[in-house]
Symmetry: C2
Subunit: 301 residues, 2 copies
């Protein structure tokens, strides 16, 4: 069993290769070719929890179990995230590696899914990217999406106006962001819609990454109900993603959800006025893909 | 994050202390004072799987996530078991340790639960212990139960007659075992009853440890239905323990199951002719207890 610390993990990571593997992983997941275990969850006092996600892509040599701890109430100076991904051999059951990534691989694979989603739904010749939120994941989304698509401008809507400068964008209010952004990415810890459906305009394209647990919500269910909705995992999105709020309100037929991997396999063509939402809750297939990529780079066959 | 290999783990393990902690852990679990995450499971070709069990005892400083791989189809020379227990801080979320126990701690905590169960249900002055099975867990159960209770004789019913000698007992058929053993422990991978209910005699006491996954079965549901049934986890036992077969056959009212931890807290007095079964499916509270004991011995506060 090899223990791999963060520096080595980052040195082994080839982002382009992982992006391609991630798209293939989502396609396999949508095709029923990825086994995903029940998600484990432990909660702790003070907005803190541990999530355990495990998956194996059919036929692969390795599988992965990810343990990620988020302790948002930690005092300053104490990291709020820690975690490992354990890589096991699907041939012998041997524990091959423990990747001590401190949650970093989750941050990266989440941003990469956002970039894949952005590439899928962005209108032609997108000029303006809008981001709601200014935390770690907002920063990662902006970087990944800008690397994938040639945006010229970045509009940032965040509680702290100085956050926009840190992200290299222009601080704006929610109305301007909704009116001007060709693509919006939402990356907050919100538990209520960030803007009313009335601010939605025809052709709005949204990548929603904040809702990753029950109770979280970024979008108005009426907006979601009126949109074409692409779900990284229809089951999970109905359980605790944006889609769930619209389904529970009786506004959205679950059968209308398009699996993300299916959309990546056969990209739909969207009408210019079509509102499209990609609901990303985070699935274990992403973890096994990124862990496998790191492991293969460290231990070539 | 500390990586701890097996030799160090074994050196840190104080069996008596763990037994006491395990009993306390079961009591807490039965009292609703232990958080247990959904069990994760991945299956692989050829009778191989990965189980993920996670728990946190209320108020404890640490929690544990156990990954245990059993690959029964591995060729000779390749270990059939591997695994780790990850110890996390319940205060900060920091990953404190990865105990690379190769599944050994699971074997130990399972045998210790068997010994606690034997002590609870054995008749007064037990003379003869009977074991069905001769594998690794049968060996562990015999050792743990003999350490806990003063049995004079060991009867072994196993497919391979030479196994009895290896266990230090007398090879017998199932009829003699049922007729003569004061306490029986079943530790097989059976998927059908090991003996018919007709062989049961009044006052039979059975510790059943084999059924740890759907499809596994060691006892005749009619025997279970007629017995006082103590369950390490009523929910799990109904899902995939011996109790489940009797419940699904309509023979056993789930409300009759006595939680193991409750029985440990307030030991019932059994009538001499009372048939008693302890149904042990293995619960995550055992994993967190043994991992915590190892961690505390390694890193004293």
């Amino acid at each position: 069993m090899r223990t791999v610390e963060l520096e080595q993990i980052m040195a082994a990571l080839d982002p382009e290769r992982v992006m391609a593997a991630l798209a293939a992983g989502f396609r396999a997941f949508a095709a029923g070719e990825c086994q995903v275990a029940a998600v484990g969850h432990l909660g702790f006092p003070g907005d803190a929890d541990c999530h355990i996600k495990s998956a194996h892509l059919d036929g692969d040599d390795v599988f992965a179990v990810k343990i990620s701890n988020s302790f948002y109430g930690n005092p300053a100076g104490v990291p709020k995230e820690d975690g490992v991904i354990v890589v096991g051999s699907a041939r012998t059951g041997a524990i091959l590696a423990v990747l001590h990534d401190h949650g970093e691989l989750t941050g990266i694979r989440t941003a990469m899914a956002g970039a894949l989603a952005a590439r899928l739904i962005a209108p032609e010749r997108p000029r303006t990217l809008g981001v709601i939120g200014s935390g770690d994941q907002a920063r990662r989304q902006v970087a990944a999406i800008r690397a994938a698509l040639p945006f010229e401008r970045l509009l940032v809507c965040a509680r702290r106006p100085e956050a926009a400068a840190a992200l290299g964008g222009e601080a704006v209010g929610i109305e301007r962001l909704c009116a001007e952004a060709d693509l919006i990415v939402t990356a907050t810890t919100a538990r209520a819609p960030l803007f009313p459906a009335a601010l939605a305009r025809p052709g709005m394209r949204i990548v929603a990454v904040g809702a990753d647990a029950p109770g979280k919500q970024e979008l108005d269910p009426e907006l979601v109900a009126a949109a074409t909705v692409i779900a990284d995992s229809p089951g999970q999105c109905i359980d605790h993603g944006e889609a769930g709020w619209a389904v529970r309100a009786g506004l959205l037929d679950p059968a209308r959800l398009i699996p993300f991997g299916q959309a990546l396999a056969e990209p739909p063509s969207f009408a210019a006025a079509e509102t499209v939402v990609v609901d990303l809750t985070g699935v274990a297939v992403q973890d096994v893909v990124i862990a496998k990529a790191v492991w293969e780079a460290l231990a070539p066959a």
